[in-house]
Amino acid sequence: MFTKRVFLILSVFYIAFLSLSWVWAEEQKTPETNLASYDPKTLVFVTNRDSSDVAVIDTKTDKVITRISLEAFANSHMAMLTNDGKKMLVSATGRDQFLIVDLATQKIEKMIKTGQSPEHFDITIDDQLAYVGNMQDSTVSVVDLKEGKEVKRMAGFFEPHGFSVLPGNSKVYVSNFGAHEVRAIDIPSQQIAKRLAIGDVHHAAIRDPERYMSELKGIANPTMTIDGRFIYAADGDSGAVGIIDTRTDRVIKTIKVGDAPWRAYASPDGLFMLVLNNGDATISVINTKRQEVVTTLKGGIEMTGVNFAQDGKKAYIISRGDSAVYVYDMNSFKMVNRLKIGTNLALETAATTADGTKIYLASSTDDSVYIIDSASDQVKRIANVGRFPWGVTILGSASPNYCH
């Protein structure tokens, strides 16, 4: 009788202990945020490469409202929202997958097998197709976003690094970082329409071919003008920007810029292209009407991106080497500010809010996102957004989104 009573008491205590533990564990969990209740244009999506998730920041409160898990070893590189704002698309470089995430449920809807090491991509305006560049095996995966499957894998590229889909969904331009050429893919037929040579490295290489054999700096991105009429493709080895007429697919002009240009960035008013020359730490400003360099600005070391703000009146240029952001007035082309973000920080990419008032800048080495108020140039930090934040994107950004 006594044994039975002791056994009963111990059982009650044990059950009570389990119940309390469960309650405590549940309390420790981040409360599930219903993203469907947010305007997607007010959210910032930050891909964290090492924690394999995407941090979502509310631009009203500047707080991380949720972190969407992409499951182990995703090593996510770039994220983008579909134009309807319902799905998030992520390149999971570590798993060779392209992910479609439903924002309402924050769950991965489709894991689509791609080529090796997918990084950058672009989607058609109708949210039907995504073109994903697989850096490792130099292929391009064509993903049907509605069906959630890879419909074609196109081979023969050389590190397909950058993508630009024309507004009418007729063509997508792919830049090869491992070659000096841009390719145009005809979207209806899914065939290569044109291969276009950029730059004149073949002339320079006659004198010193070994220089170009040791390291190749090709074309990072085919940057489209805002109206979609031209593509500006900067070739790193030749220090030149080739302008492609998207109607004829001909290189109509080649402009000499600074040394080792990274890529061109279009100003939202469509008037300028800013080319970051990392070889000589300068910025070439190209007037898109005259198609010529109108001025060359002094820049920083290892520049990784340009964000326009305040209706395009200001340009923020990220310098990873200086851990700083350079601010230029786009009317006078004068440097108006130099924002020293920190020391030994690796500043990666940034996105501008839809109203152009704030810039969200990912800093990978301190797991932070820095917020720049474009009116006052004051900087605020959000710490612990995830491990190694890399790509930042905002739907309907006032400055074209980019990755690197």
């Binding site: 060779d96 090796q116 090491s117 490792q136 095996d137 130099s138 050389f158 590190e159 090869n176 970082f177 491992g178 070659a179 000096h180 050429e181 044109k194 291969r195 276009l196 040579a197 950029i198 490295v201 073949h202 290489a205 006659i206 004198r207 010193d208 071919p209 170009y212 054999m213 040791s214 390291e215 190749l216 090709g218 080895d237 080739g242 492609i244 004829t248 697919d249 001909r250 290189v251 109509i252």
Partner: protein
């Protein structure tokens, strides 16, 4: 009993359930294992890949369009001409493949950077028979070393040091045409010396269509060439059968030669050179030559080369006297073994009262024996008429290769008639048999 039955049934059910569960687990484990192996294989493939930058050739249209191979008829869709570009691409290889590529590239690089040293030596004995003077045996020898390197892609640096000893039979015969070209490499009477014969930089431009040579050059390497009669080390010895006498090229000196050879029927070249080795008169008293080449298979359906040249220059003895000349040099293959050649030219020096002219013609015959495939025989006649006199001469030779690098030749020149430029007397029916040994190393 009932309890026992219940126990047995229970154990049987539990056992069967356990077996099924184990089978399911085994199946799951098999699937999981194959997936893991597949994942590992994919990761291994990634690890096994390395990227290598390679130089590739592409063809480019003015609008930037690229083709991997030359488009049909070499034209772009809009009819414009393609440009060949040697560009670079990053290509992924498996590690092993890359290693062999790297070794091959390193060997090629070492080969390209290597300074090539070569040379040749010649010994020539010539006997003069039936001269007015005492018939004599003349010995002459020469040796040259050349150095060749590639300082940059598309360029070659070449330097040739030559030593000549012995003057040859013209020391006594004084022929107008000159009986031993090898003895007078540095000029008439210049012997027993070591000199830099040539030192130049050769550049290939515009996809090898344009070739330029600058430095101390020998213009006869680029103009008035002839496949039958243009090499005193292996073919005819007489200077009139090496180049047109009216070419009157200056001794090797600072100059420039540019040739355009698009790889079709027509080619062209232009050469400029100082009238002497000093280079001090290169602008004022330049020797200039231009040539148009025509290569065809019209006759006998065999290769024929026709060259037309014109030159202006200065008299080597008096640089104030201008000279001009025009000429033709052709060689036409007539059969697999027989090739004919001809040269002709007319020219004048400013202070002379009449035009000089010269012509020569002959045949080269290949060996009919397979074992002696490199052996050649040649027969030629030359006539030249200048203000200082005229001369007719015939020459025949047989060049026999003992080994790849050692050749001996018997040569016979017959000076039909001419004037001894030293004594002023007449040379008539002189025979000059000779023996030439050539070693290449």
């Amino acid at each position: 009993m009932r309890r026992l039955l219940f126990l047995v049934v229970s154990i049987a059910l539990i056992s069967s359930g356990s077996v099924r569960a184990q089978e399911g687990q085994a199946n799951d484990a098999g699937v999981s294992l194959s997936e893991r192996v597949k994942t590992l294989e994919e990761r291994l493939e990634k690890l096994d890949k390395v990227e290598v930058v390679k130089q590739v050739v592409e063809y480019m249209c003015p609008g930037g369009e690229i083709y991997d191979s030359l488009p049909p008829d070499g034209h772009c869709p809009d009819g414009s001409v393609t440009e060949e570009r040697k560009t670079f691409k990053k290509i992924a290889f498996s590690r092993r493949e890359s290693l062999s590529e790297k070794i091959e590239a390193a060997l090629q690089e070492a080969e390209a950077k290597r300074v090539v040293i070569g040379g040749s030596a010649r010994g020539i004995l010539q006997q003069v028979i039936h001269s007015r003077e005492e018939d004599k045996l003349f010995g002459e020898g020469s040796v040259d070393f050349f150095f060749l390197s590639r300082p940059m892609a598309g360029t070659i640096f070449f330097a040739d040091l030559e030593a000549v000893g012995g003057a040859g039979p013209d020391e006594a015969v004084g022929s107008l045409s000159r009986l031993n070209t090898d003895a007078e490499t540095f000029g008439v009477g210049v012997t027993d010396q070591v000199k830099v014969r040539e030192a130049w930089l050769h550049m290939s431009l515009m996809g090898d269509r344009v070739k330029a040579v600058v430095g101390k050059i020998d213009l006869t390497n680029y103009f008035d060439r002839n496949s039958v009669a243009n090499d005193e080390t292996a073919k005819f010895l007489n200077t009139a059968l090496v180049n047109n006498p009216l070419l009157a090229q200056p001794p090797n000196g600072p100059g420039l030669a540019v040739r355009y050879e698009p790889g079709r029927e027509i080619g062209a070249g232009i050469g400029l050179q100082s009238p002497d080795n000093s280079g001090s008169t290169i602008v004022e008293k330049v020797y200039a030559i231009a040539e148009l080449d025509y290569h065809t298979h019209l006759l006998f359906a065999r290769e024929g080369n026709y060259r037309f040249w014109g030159k202006i220059g200065r008299d080597a003895d008096d640089l104030d006297n201008k000279t001009w000349g025009v000429g033709i040099s052709l060689d036409q293959q007539m059969s697999t073994r027989i090739t004919a050649f001809a040269r002709a030219g007319v020219g004048r020096t400013e202070d002379e009262s009449r035009n000089a002219h010269a012509w020569s013609t002959g045949l080269e015959i290949g060996s009919p024996f397979k074992a002696l495939i490199k052996d050649r025989a040649g027969f030629a006649f030359s006539r030249q008429v200048e203000e200082d006199g005229s001369e007719s001469i015939g020459e025949g030779y047989y060049n026999h290769f003992l080994t790849e690098r050692l050749a001996v030749a018997f040569d016979l020149q017959w000076l039909f008639s001419g004037k001894n430029q030293i004594t002023g007397e007449k040379n008539e029916n002189l025979l000059i048999p000779g023996f030439r040994t050539t070693i290449n190393f």
